[in-house]
Structures are given as C-alpha cells and as structure tokens.
C-alpha cells in the first residue's frame, strides 16, 4: 500500500511536469507574441526587442522553460498585465471564493445524488428508478449557462426572490450564493446520480447479494451492509473527479453571476490576453485536478480490499 502511494505520487509529479511543459509550449513558444501581449499591440518593434532581451526571452527554449518552471514552483507567477499587480495577489483571494462556492456545491450535490442514485439502483426498472433516470438525463442536457438563464428568469425575473448577480460588492451575502450553487448542482447531480445508480444496480444483481438474501438476514441489512458498502466505491471516484469538472463549471457560472472567483478570473485573463495570469490559472487548476485524482485513486485502492490486500 505504501509503495503504491509513493508510486502514485511520483506519477502525479510527472504529470504536473508534463502539464507545465504543455502550458509553457502553448503560451510561450513564440517569444514575439509574448512581447505583443505584454507590451500591447501598439508597441514598436524596438521596444519589444528590448523587452525580450531584458526578460531573458532570447535564451534557448529549454533554459527559458527551466527558469519559468523554477518560478512557477516557488509561486512567483509574474505580474498581471491587466491588474498591474503580482498574479499571486489576485489569484489566491479569487481561488478562496471559488473554494467557498465549491464547498456548498458539494455539500448539496453529494447527499442528493447518492440518495437518488441508491434509491433508483436499489430496484432497477421500478417507477421511481425511471423517474429519477429520466429527470437526470434532462438536467444533464441543460448546459450551465442555460440553466442559469432559466433559473434567473424564474427566481429573479419572475418571482423576484433572489438576487440576479453574485458580485458580493457589499460583503459576503449567502443569498447571492444560492443561484450559482443551484446551477452547478443542477447540471452535475444527474451525472453523479446515474453513476451511483448504475453501481448500485450492478451490485444488487451480484451473486453475493443473493447469498446475503438467502442467508436470511433482514433486507435493510442486506442493502446497507452488503449493498452500499460495495456500491459506493465507484461513486467515490466519480465524486472526486467532479472537482475537475467543477473547475470548468465555475468559469461559466461565475461569469454569468459576476461572482469574483477563479473561473471569472481565468476568463477575464483570457479575453485580455493576460498571459501570466492565464499560465498561473491553468497551472493551479491542473494542480487541483491532478491532486484530487491522486486522492481518488488512493482512496479507491483503500476502499477495495481486493486491490489493497494483493
């Protein structure tokens, strides 16, 4: 088990290294375009040459990559072109805001989808199962921006009970979190529910459930001890991977509701060609995603005695 964790961590580090190379190549392969982005389209050729020289952009590619990597690892992401401050200064508060949004999303998503999934999968083909399944197909078919539009139309335009933006300009307001969380949950709950349902349904047809029933133990015990314990292993991984998905979802939701989070920051950086901010956002996002993936893998191994005790 320990050697597995060690190997998994090594793999994580290797993935991060490869990702950094990819990001670097995507954004900094051509120094000329970096100069244009930093100095603006109206800078002169001379200015750009001077800037490139001053910032070490005339060094060979590999040397630039290593220096760049060193800065990334130490948290020195450079200066934001748009905000005119070090990237770190804008990034961390925004990330914290997104973490709050993510926390509430998961706090609703996990119990809701697991309950629905288990209820549906327990009796495959029942009316409840069909209702839950069809509903989850419908909700996963509505993109986040569309459900944001629909929910705003209902709760803001129609009923007028919720605020339509979540800028939190007058301090933290829990009311302003409701719509963003609803949108994120609505889109994702269907997927996690379906995964849980499939897992539960498969477990319920497994021969060891038959053994448990024919052993004469009470049905609730069959479900809880024999069914759930096995059925929840795959959804665990699925839920961990939703953090990766959430980092996508927040771009849309934060943009729509003007929430000052990481996603809106990335989009703003991208629309303004703020190259260092884009790099930092991408690296941080991938770091979070890869770390949760690693935790998911380790957790899966731990939950599964068949792998744990090999």
């Amino acid at each position: 088990m320990l050697s597995f964790i060690f190997r998994r961590l090594a793999l994580t580090a290797a993935t991060m290294l490869a990702v950094s190379l990819l990001v670097f190549l995507l954004l900094e392969l051509n120094p000329g375009s970096v100069a244009v982005k930093v100095l603006g389209p109206y800078s002169s050729e001379e200015q750009r040459q001077l800037w490139l020289e001053a910032n070490g952009y005339l060094n060979p590619l590999w040397q630039r990559y290593l220096e760049w990597l060193g800065r990334m690892v130490t948290g020195d992401f450079g200066e934001s072109i748009r905000f005119k401050v070090p990237v770190a200064e804008v990034l961390w508060p925004r990330l914290w805001n997104t973490a709050i949004l993510a926390f509430w999303t998961f706090a609703v998503l996990i119990p809701l989808s697991l309950t629905l999934g288990v209820l549906a999968g327990m009796r495959e083909g029942s009316r409840l199962d069909r209702a839950i399944s069809i509903t989850s197909i419908i909700t996963t078919s509505i993109p986040e921006f569309a459900s944001a539009v629909f929910l705003s139309a209902i709760f803001v335009f129609g009923l007028g009970i919720l605020p339509g933006t979540s800028a939190m300009s007058n301090g933290f307001d829990p009311l302003q979190l409701i719509l963003p969380v609803m949108v994120l949950v609505l889109y994702d709950v269907g997927y996690v529910t379906r995964m849980t349902r499939a897992s539960m349904a498969e477990v319920m047809t497994a021969p060891y459930i038959r053994t448990a029933v024919l052993k004469g133990i009470p049905f609730p015990r069959v479900i809880l001890r024999h069914g759930l314990r096995n059925a929840l292993i795959p959804p665990f991984t699925v839920i961990m991977l939703q953090i990766n998905w959430l980092l996508s979802g927040v771009v849309v939701v934060e943009f729509f509701f003007a929430y000052k989070g990481f996603g809106a920051l990335l989009l703003e950086a991208s629309l303004n060609q703020d190259i260092y901010l884009i790099q930092a956002c991408a690296m941080v996002a991938v770091f979070v995603a890869v770390t949760t993936q690693t935790l998911a893998d380790i957790g899966y191994t731990y939950l599964n005695p068949r792998i744990r005790l090999q």
Partner: protein, 698 residues
Amino acid sequence: MTDMTMPAATRPVLELQNLRISYFTRSGEINVVPGLDLKLYPGEAIGLVGESGCGKSTIGYAIMRYLGQAGRIMDGRVLFEGRDLYALGDNELRTLRGNRMAMVYQDPMSSLNPTMTIGEQLMEVPVYHFNATRSEARERALAMLEEVNLPDPASIMERYPHQLSGGQQQRVVIAMALMAEPALLIMDEPTTGLDVTVEAAVLDLIAELRRKHKTSIVFISHNLGTVVRICDRIGVLYAGELVEEGPIKEVFDDPRHPYTRGLLCCVPTLDADKYSSPLTPIRGSVAVPRQRPPGCVFAARCEHRQDGTCTTAKVAMQYAPASLRHVARCARQDELPPLRRAAGDDDSGSAGEIRHEDVVLRIESLKKYYEQSGGLGLVTGNKVEVKAIDGIDLKARRGETLAIVGESGCGKSTLAKVLTGLEDVTGGRITLDEVDLTDLGIDRRPDDVIRRLQMVFQNPDSTLNPSHTIGYTLERPLRQFANLQGEKLHRTVRALLKAVNLPAEFARRKPRQLSGGQKQRVAIARALAGSPEVIIADEPVSALDVSVQASIINLLAELQSERQTTLLFISHDLSVVRYLADRVAVMYLGKIMELGRVANVFAPPYHPYTEALLSAIPVPDPNVKTRRILLEGKPPSVLDRPAGCPFAARCHRKVGPICDEQEPPERRFGNGHRIACHLPPADLNKMESVVMQAAAAE
C-alpha cells in the same frame, strides 16, 4: 453409497407438487418447468442432472423462493416441512432461509461479498437467526471452518474472499450454509469450475458432512459422476421435465429413458477409447422450452421415437418392473433394446499402434517465462518471473493424437500459444518438420508455415467474429492460404462445411444464429481450410454440453484419421483424453510428469500425480470404485516453484527431502512410457490400478 431406505410414513422435508415455473421476457412467457413432482425425505440426497437449459438451477432457486423478477410460479406448490413456501410472509420466509434451508452456489468467488471478511459473513448467520452474541457467533464460525477442513480457521476468519483459493472459497460457502444446521441443503453445481483434484476433495467433504449432519440435499449438477458420489437418488431432467427418477443404482444399471441412456453413452469413460467403443452422441440440441411438443419432450432427438406413440399425448411416469421407486417417462421403455455401454476392452491399447517414427513437431527443452509486474502495474514496480513452461520435451508424430492433460495453471494453454507463435519463446527449440519456429512469432511466420500449424480454440462464443458471416470466416483463410477466388472459393467453403457436417446455407449465417456445437464445427472447418499438418486444439469441447461434446470429439477423431493430421489435443478432462488420444503427456506446473501411450499412462505404473488425477475423476457408474487419494494443500503457485519435483508438496508418495531438493529423474518403462519421479522403478511397478469394478473391490 449406502442406500438409506426411508420408512414410508416419514413426512418429506421437501415436496414439490405439480410445480410449474415460467419466465416472462419481452417476447412473452417461457415455460421452463411444465409441472414437476418430487419428494425428498429426511437425510436423503437427490441429484438433479441435465444439460444446460434443462431448468435444474431454476428448480433450485424456486425451492428457495428466489426466482427474480422475471420468474414466476404458475401452478403447484413447494412444501417445506409441510408448509407452503409460497404462502409464507416475508418475515417467516426470512427465518427459514439460511436457517432451516440453505444453498451452496456454483461460483463461490462471486457468491461471497468481496469487501467483508470471511468471519463477518459467517457470523451473520447465528447473529440474525439465533440472536447470538458476537463471541458465540465467532465460536460457531470457527467450529464450522474447522469442520470443512480449512487450515488455520482463525486466520481465515480475518481474510477477504479474494485471498482464498477457489476450493477454499467453496468450503467457506458450504460452512456458511451449514452454520444453522439446516434440514435442507440446495447445492447448485457446487464443484463446477474447480479443478478435478479440488473437486474430488470438496465432494468427499460434502459426502462426509452429509453422513454427519443427516441433512437432506438437492444436488444439482450436469456431471453424472458427481451425483454418483453424493446422492442416493437421481432425477434426470430434460427441458424442465423429470424424465427418469429413482435410486442411483437402479437408474444406472437399467436406464429406462432414452435420454438417460444417451447421457450415459455420450460421456467417455476411463476404459473406453475411440477404437474400441465409439461414443454415441445424442443428435440435435436441447429443445427450447417455447416449442413444447404435444407428446414426449425428447421425441425430436430420440432414436427410438415412434410417431403416434411418442408424439401425440403427454407421456406419464411409469414404474420400472419390480421396482417401487424407479420411474421413467417413456412410452416405449419396455421395448427399448438392451443398453450397450462401453465395456472395458483390455486389448484396446493395441489399436492405438503408431506405425512410424515420423516426427512432425519437435519440442526441445522449451521454456516460457512471463514477467509479471507486482502491485498495480504502474510505471515502476517489481517484476516477478512466472515460469509457465519450464523445460519440456515432446515429439508429435505424423497422424497421431497427442494429448496434453493437466489442471488449470499447469501451462498447457501457454504451450498452445507458444507453439502457434501467439506468444514468444523464452528458451529451447520448436521445429515443424525442417522449419525452426523458435524465433518465429506469428507476425514473422511466412504464410505457408502458418498454414501448416493451425489451432482450434476453447470458447465457442469467442472463436468466431460476431460481425462476420460463417462464409466470410471460412473464405478468408482460403484466400490467404490457397489464393482461391470466385466459384472455386464458394465451392471449397461448401465442401468445408460439409466436412464438419453443417449445411451449406450456414455460410450466410452470423455466429449468433448458431449453437455452441455448431460454432465449434465452424472453428474446426476454419482450422482445416489450409489443410494443415498439425492442429492444436485447446479444450475444444470443455464449454459444450455433454451430448454435443461427443459429436465434436467424434468429428475430430474422424477428420484427423481421414486427413492424417497431427492433433495436439489440450484438455483437463482425462476421460476425453483417454478416449481420443494415442499418446498423453501429463503436465503439472509447467513440467511434464508422465508421457506415454494412452493405455500405458492410464494403467500402472503411474506418476503419483497421474494416480491422484485418475482417482479424483467422478466416474458416472456406481459399479466402478476408485481408490481415493486425498491431495494435501493447494497447488503451489507458479511464482514460488519448488526447486525439486513440482508435485512434491502435495505428493502422497513422497520419498523424502530429495523430492523437494532435486529434479526427479526420468524413469523409462518401454513403449516410450516415461515417468519423472524419485520413486524407484520397482515401487512404481508395484502400484495398483486406481479404477476397479465393484465386483473386484468387494
């Protein structure tokens, strides 16, 4: 088995009254069991036998009242200790299940919860049925594990199912079923899928526990031999109907239904071979219950059918003359000719004379090692060497059938893969006539070499590409090997189909429209397409029903002798090998333990492993007794192979430490019969035959 005659007054433990079971699918009702009557008295064991699809498992689950959503009882009753099971409430039913009636399942691995320890799973029974405390439950579980002969029960309690071998898992399932001392035990193919030596040990255990606990048993199996070992009575099922039922000895001595006779004649026995007594397959395949005929269900496949007598009205059960317990559902049972069962023919060995020493395929100190990564196979990881084949020498002669026999994991299938070039060779040499195949993986073999050595695979469901028609499947090798085109190509395809007794229209069909036996025929035809010199057949009949098995075996024997092809027949089934092969190599853990003519290998002197294998075979004849040899422990894994004889750890005739330390010498007994064993030849020669007729045993 002692024949326990029960006083007629005793109340049956289980009584099925006109039980009628149907499944409901999207295409409507399928009546699987049309009406079954059966009584089981206390302490009695009845074997229900039949081929796949005959409804035997359905009956087992119907008795447990566990038919799933699609299954339904249409009529009749299941009385357990006098109570109608289908009239009970859920709670009453729950208190019976696992307590008064319990079940043992076919696949023990998947029947145990993978995320619960063995102890937890066993302890549930007393905890929920007797309100036992955890320590009481634990004690009971430990005692039960001891009783099913599991070593070190305390440590087994803490383990998870995947940490046990298949045989150990099945012992755990049996222990679980017996935890509450049930009155009735349903066993659904409890030894199917286990190796023959493990199967024998589990069967012995069941027989012993049965004597001790006086539990009534419904023993469901497709294997007549296992039923003989366990049961007093046998019921033969065909298409959901009981066609014959009675005490084991009476049924086997005088089978009165043609289907029972067919079942007995289509399995090879240890004393029959293809020269002395050809197998008689049952023609056709098991009837689909949807098309239930008005008369006898078996009529369509019966060679004794008489239109009118057999095909118009339902046939009733009739008692055999002078018997109160043996019944059969055949209208012509008194007119059937006397049964000719393959009788032991002592000079049968002479028929398998090999005329010349023309070696086609030569295998010299062949080795195949795998690198297996320990752990989860991620980027790094410790590599472990698995020696699947560890230095074997074999020669296959032109036109002979050479069988390779052994239990799972002995390396026999790896041998097939290495010979065909599907896997690389680690060491040694393979030559086909003058061509050195050693370094010719399949990708590097010239087409003509590939053509000369062909293969028939095990699984009929995966041997044919489901996307291609049979015609395409057969055309392709003809194009590749013989460059045939147009009308000539189609003519050859038809000829190939004819050679394997399939109609020419089959060329247009897709594999899913074929039965298992038909698919295997196509696979044989495909292997024959290039007129190969050597055909390697890897367990070609092990996935087939016995009645179909016989016809495929006969087909192989026929084609092989017609075309003088060399057949390398790989099998775990000694009876089939005995029947089909000219020579046999017995493999264990990647080495050949014994090699020789079939008659020599199946008679003393034996290698101790061969002796154990032979003694383990469940013989479908109550008059044949085998000398029981119990093997200790489970086969050592190929990972920690012992330095000396691979069989030493389990051997019942172990000489001493020498067996563990030194490679056994090869003892030669003439006629090419070789045994790799430390036992001196004199001792080997003193061995007695494992199989004996009852008359001799008494």
